[in-house]
């Protein structure tokens, strides 16, 4: 038996894997045959309905063209026909793993146009939920990416913790996904009693879980072989291609809007920006895992320093009056009626509001013409822009590495197609 194993080892080691880094120029002239392969749109490894047109030479990818639009639902157009506070609902559904971020970018842009000040407590509540959402998004990514490179169990562990976060979302907003928690001027409601304790329990438990994920993956030979030195791309090239977020940080550029241009009180919190060195799949993978830990730190600090005060602005022209005022105050009733029927009017102007989403710079461009409906909403979705880097990443790599790289790219087709 032992002879068989060592024999296997010997054969395995005799395989020349330097071809991985070679450009395979030895195939010349007539021997060179290209095969065009269509992957997707319905393919479990394409994370949604993404179609890839791959040109192969043997097993090596020579060129790749993403074809998108299968999930296009015209949300930007739909938003133009809805009043500002109703548009939040549809815009949230773009990138379906980053709904708090979509709502935050849109509400931030509208607040800038309105010049509404968001109370400090609301900013902290937003940060707590944004970071919970970031962890949730990274957990879904971690589970599915590990599944794509063959690690089945990670998927169950990742989704177990994600479930806890979704329970917290349900507890604070009533919905598990697409919560519409963030509103123009603040958030939908204050935290229900017992929420903080539940959230703290999650934050206390999670670092151990992340350590378990690391134990499971970081020293696994298969994972390391599938990730290390696979499909790297330099930071300069990524910047040319407009890539931001964990992908850029994995290449060693510590660009993070939460630190560089803080919004919603991020300057109050002490956290680090995990970065990689090579920009290969290994760095992309473990930068995200480290980001989960940093997000936990932010949540704990925000819970510790949660200021007293209102959870939404007192500006009755923008935010609904509290329920108890409706029975006693005439003005409250009028404001309520105006807001629910027409919505609020926004001064004319154009605003571009960027935030750091789980996948990079998520920005919302809103143009107002002075009416109660936006004249143009555009979401700069990081998945859409980052997808352009996929071709350069997998050029001259094996098709098996294409799947691993796509997993590490973390594209969300709902965000790409909008």
């Amino acid at each position: 038996m032992s002879l068989e194993v060592s024999d296997y080892r010997r054969r395995e080691e005799s395989i020349d894997i330097t071809a991985r880094t070679q450009t395979l120029e030895h195939t010349e002239g007539a021997e060179r045959e290209l095969l065009t392969l269509n992957m997707g749109p319905h393919h479990p490894a394409t994370h949604g309905v993404l179609r890839l047109l791959v040109t192969l030479e043997g097993e090596v990818v020579r060129s790749l063209q993403p074809i998108i639009g299968y999930l296009h639902t015209g949300i930007e157009k739909t938003a133009e026909d809805k009043s500002y506070w109703k548009a939040i609902t549809v815009i949230e559904r773009m990138d379906y793993l980053a709904y708090y971020f979509n709502a935050m970018a849109f509400c931030g842009a509208v607040e800038t146009l309105l010049e509404v000040e968001v109370p400090k407590r609301a900013q902290y509540l937003r940060v707590i939920h944004l970071e919970l959402n970031r962890i949730m998004s990274h957990l879904v990514w971690l589970g599915t990416a590990a599944l794509d490179i063959g690690a089945m169990s990670m998927y169950f562990y990742g989704f177990r913790e994600r479930e806890t976060i979704l329970d917290l979302f349900e507890y604070s907003s009533g919905q598990r996904m697409h919560t519409r928690y963030i509103q123009v001027g603040g958030v939908f409601e204050d935290l229900p009693s017992g929420w903080v304790e539940k959230c703290r329990a999650f934050c206390a438990e999670m670092p151990d879980r992340v350590a378990q994920y690391r134990d499971l993956l970081a020293k696994n030979e298969i994972v390391l072989n599938r990730l290390r030195n696979v499909c790297p791309l330099s930071a300069d090239r990524l910047l040319e291609l407009g890539v931001t977020g964990p992908l850029l940080r994995a290449a060693g550029n510590p660009w993070d809007l939460r630190k560089a241009m803080p919004y919603s009180s991020y300057e109050d919190f002490d956290f680090k920006i995990p970065i990689g060195t090579l920009g290969d799949n290994y760095d992309r993978f473990f930068v995200r895992v480290a980001e989960i830990e940093e997000s936990l730190k932010i949540i704990e600090q925000a819970l510790d320093g949660l200021p007293e005060g209102s959870y939404i602005t007192d500006d009755r022209k923008v935010a609904l009056p509290p329920r108890y005022e409706l029975a006693t105050s005439m003005e409250a009733l009028i404001h309520h009626f105006k807001l629910v029927t027409e919505g609020f009017r926004v001064p004319p102007g154009e605003v571009y509001y960027p935030i750091e989403g789980p996948r990079g710079e998520l920005a919302c461009f809103v143009r107002s013409d002075g009416s109660s409906k936006p004249a143009r909403v555009h979401v700069r979705d990081p998945s859409f822009v980052n997808l352009q880097a996929f071709g350069p990443m997998v050029e001259n790599a094996y098709i098996a590495d294409l799947i691993a790289t796509l997993a590490c790219l973390d594209p969300i087709v709902g965000g790409i197609d909008r």
Partner: protein
């Protein structure tokens, strides 16, 4: 952000290079924006790159219906060193929506210019592969234009096709 003065200085410097290039400067909600003539978009972005704005964050289209010229394209530039943003705006008429593509200088504009072409019908000269990106290739019209109706899309349901009915209006 370049403050209002900084924006004027930038605009003045650009005017010296391209006398008719800068049409307007706006400083709105703490954010600088430069309106330029469509013909100078590539040199204008190149000039701003020289000023440190080395990252093109976003390219998006706007329809200013009923104002003329109707279509707008906006370029969001970011300087990671100065922690600064600036918007470059241009306007083209709907009859002749021609803009030089910035893809040769900024590869990230590839997909985004295709989206603006798809949704607004702005033609980017010199784009390597200007096709529709989100809508089907045989689609007619540019759906993000303000005069394109919501619900204007004919839908064929399977049950209607079986009954010999045509597209629903």
């Amino acid at each position: 952000m370049p403050d209002a003065t900084g924006l004027e200085l930038l605009a003045q410097e650009l005017r010296e290079l391209h006398p008719d290039g800068v049409l307007d400067t706006t400083f709105f909600r703490g954010k600088a924006a430069l309106s330029v003539d469509p013909t100078v978009i590539r040199p204008a972005l190149g000039f701003l790159r020289g000023k440190g704005f080395g990252f093109l964050a976003s390219v998006h289209g706007v329809d200013y219906y009923p104002d003329e010229p109707r279509l707008g394209v906006q370029y969001e530039l970011l300087s990671m060193e100065q922690l600064d943003r600036i918007t470059v705006k241009l306007r083209v008429s709907i009859d002749d929506p021609q803009v030089a593509s910035v893809t040769p200088d900024w590869p990230t504009a590839d997909h985004q210019e295709r989206e603006v072409y798809d949704m607004f019908g702005v033609v980017f000269d010199g784009h390597p592969d200007l096709r529709r990106i989100l809508m089907p290739e045989d689609y007619e019209g540019h759906p993000q234009r303000r005069d394109f109706p919501i619900g204007g899309e004919p839908v064929l349901f399977t049950k209607d096709g079986a009954q010999g009915k045509d597209y629903t209006a």
